[in-house]
Subunit: 354 residues, 2 copies
């Protein structure tokens, strides 16, 4: 059974101080009923002023704090939302969480973090039922069917940069447009042979960025070759070294994220290749680091914090929605697209000099 409170002799024992006071203890000390205590703690209902002070005094004396778990069980509302993220790295995630927290804390919601270590952890999702009111899920690497199968049904959810899900709104980045903007910009700067360092093949963002880059290159009539990377700095470094060594012909590199771009940039610099004069470089994400490397990295910028905030806001709306109208209307909350914009810095030329 549960922590065996000594039902008999509840008052005297000094050790009983350890255990937390419950609403019953407060009621007993104040000489009122538990309903009344609950009422004064939750405000709104009619309670006489005298009773209110009596209860408040008793509560203060006992150091009473309501038990969130019990409350959420009886109200069917936890006040927390689950955040499901892939294995987190770097500024992207702190910005995302920052944005989510900003929105969540104004709504007095907690954030319960769940990290997916490449698939492991999916089974914990269903265990979230009763612990959160809804879910923000970001799982760009996951098969939508697999994901759908693991979603606890009946829980509101918003997907972030995932493959399209049925019945739940999705927040996505317009990766195609962003990548296209970068490639178009490189071409306008005189690039003829662009190398694109892509993300892992299974990653949806990576696929879209690649497609956008290819489309824009075709449009601009420049050559584009693709080398698959893994979003980590090292894979950018490798490409940078090949370009520096001359085994890979390129006058511009467009990486699918900033860390790879920076890897390439550092490798080029190390080998004395002038950036952007000999080889231009552009990245994607515009992490804070991008403007601090030198030369400062041109990148496709996404307001990551805003994205996180939007996701939480949408989820909160959905939660409120399913709450008031019992007919859980899945169609609310259309997909929302975040349009990135290009931040031109020093690793690319603004105009054609080639």
């Amino acid at each position: 059974m549960s922590p065996a409170r000594p039902t008999s002799a509840p008052a005297a024992t000094p050790a009983a101080q350890r255990a937390h006071a419950t609403i019953h203890d407060v009621a007993r000390v104040a000489g009122v009923s538990v309903a009344s205590v609950s009422r004064v703690f939750n405000g709104r209902d009619h309670v006489r002023a005298e009773m209110r002070t009596r209860v408040e005094e008793a509560a203060a004396q006992l150091g009473y704090v309501p038990h969130a778990g019990a409350r959420s069980l009886s109200m069917a509302r936890t006040g927390a939302i689950g955040v499901v993220l892939p294995d987190l790295h770097g500024e992207f995630f702190s910005e995302l969480l920052r944005g989510m927290d900003r929105e969540a804390s104004t709504r007095r919601l907690g954030l319960l973090l769940t990290v997916l270590h490449d698939g492991r952890g999916l089974d914990t999702l269903t265990a979230l039922r009763g612990q959160v009111d809804g879910l923000v899920v970001m799982a760009p690497e996951l098969d939508p069917d697999v994901l759908a199968r693991h979603m606890p049904r009946g829980l509101a959810a918003v997907f972030l940069a995932c493959a399209p899900q049925v019945g739940s709104p999705n927040l996505r980045i317009d990766n195609r447009a962003g990548a296209a903007a970068a490639v178009t910009h490189l071409a306008a700067g005189g690039a003829k042979r662009i190398v694109h360092i892509s993300g892992p093949a299974g990653n949806l963002d990576a696929q879209e960025r690649r497609a956008g880059a290819e489309a824009a290159a075709a449009e601009a009539g420049v050559a584009l070759s693709v080398i698959e990377g893994d979003f980590l700095e090292a894979s950018g470094t490798k490409v940078g070294e090949r370009v520096a060594a001359g085994t890979l012909a390129a006058d511009a590199i467009f990486a699918a994220n900033d860390m790879m771009a920076i890897g390439a940039l550092m490798a080029l610099k190390r080998h004395g290749i002038a950036v952007p004069e000999q080889v231009a470089v552009a990245g994607f994400d515009d992490i804070p680091l991008a403007r601090l490397v030198s030369p400062a990295l041109t990148s496709v910028a996404i307001d990551i914090a805003a994205m996180g905030a939007r996701a939480v806001a949408q989820l909160a709306a959905r939660i409120a929605g399913t709450r008031e109208e019992s007919s859980g209307d899945a169609s609310t909350g259309a997909d929302e697209v975040i349009v990135p914009h290009l931040m031109v810095r020093e690793t690319t030329r603004e105009t054609d000099r080639g």
Copy 2:
């Protein structure tokens, strides 16, 4: 098999699909008692194989998932720990969370994030009772008394880089030793007039780093002047510009964190000051960015992820402890000190050339 016991037409209603199945539904469909369902879901108890399959089939058919909230109420155990952090920025926090998650997920614990926006949010701490099993608190800026007053009593807690708390273990960084190492290194490199950009006066880490720097400077017999910063890049920039302009005499700058150091570094570079030849620069924290700026920043390194992991590990131990021995022994878990080490890179000279 289950002889379609028509107790009260549980199957038909399509709307009932919406609501989640409870343990009672499973029990009814399987034709057993709730206790048995509970037993098969929690394993260990004696249950006959046939009953087990009956229950499992019923559960699968209904899509039953246990309700974490209800379970935690009756078991007095939530499986989550609260993480209380100051307003989060940059890589420091993603690394910290990463380390915490690593430890927490191996222990099958969730992380409930609470961000303190300079003091606001403190009142939500007590509301965590019943929602988490323990707390990891990082609040370097907070008065220990204020903090103590807001801690929900009876909840295990571990403090991270806080002013000493009574009765709870504290994980702290040996800021003094780290700062001293940096200053000693600068002096060994030939610096005679070091400027220390400190953190905000109210911040404990900042105070300790400053003290360590001052002690080491006295020891080495070099001048050290202190300018108060705020841990943000801009305050470093300001100092860098003054040094470049000649209105502040210095041949070395030691900043209390990396972002300020980078701000100073960038300002110096912008004004054509040679680093480290004319002015050496060192920071504190060794954020991933430190090695990516150029010249790469010398910094005092802390294994942030490991620190987060240790905090969670300690907390888990305390939770387990208070659980088995009801006499909540507050003395378990002595303070633990994390010793940082110096990462020498390009912004300082290894040996005296001055």
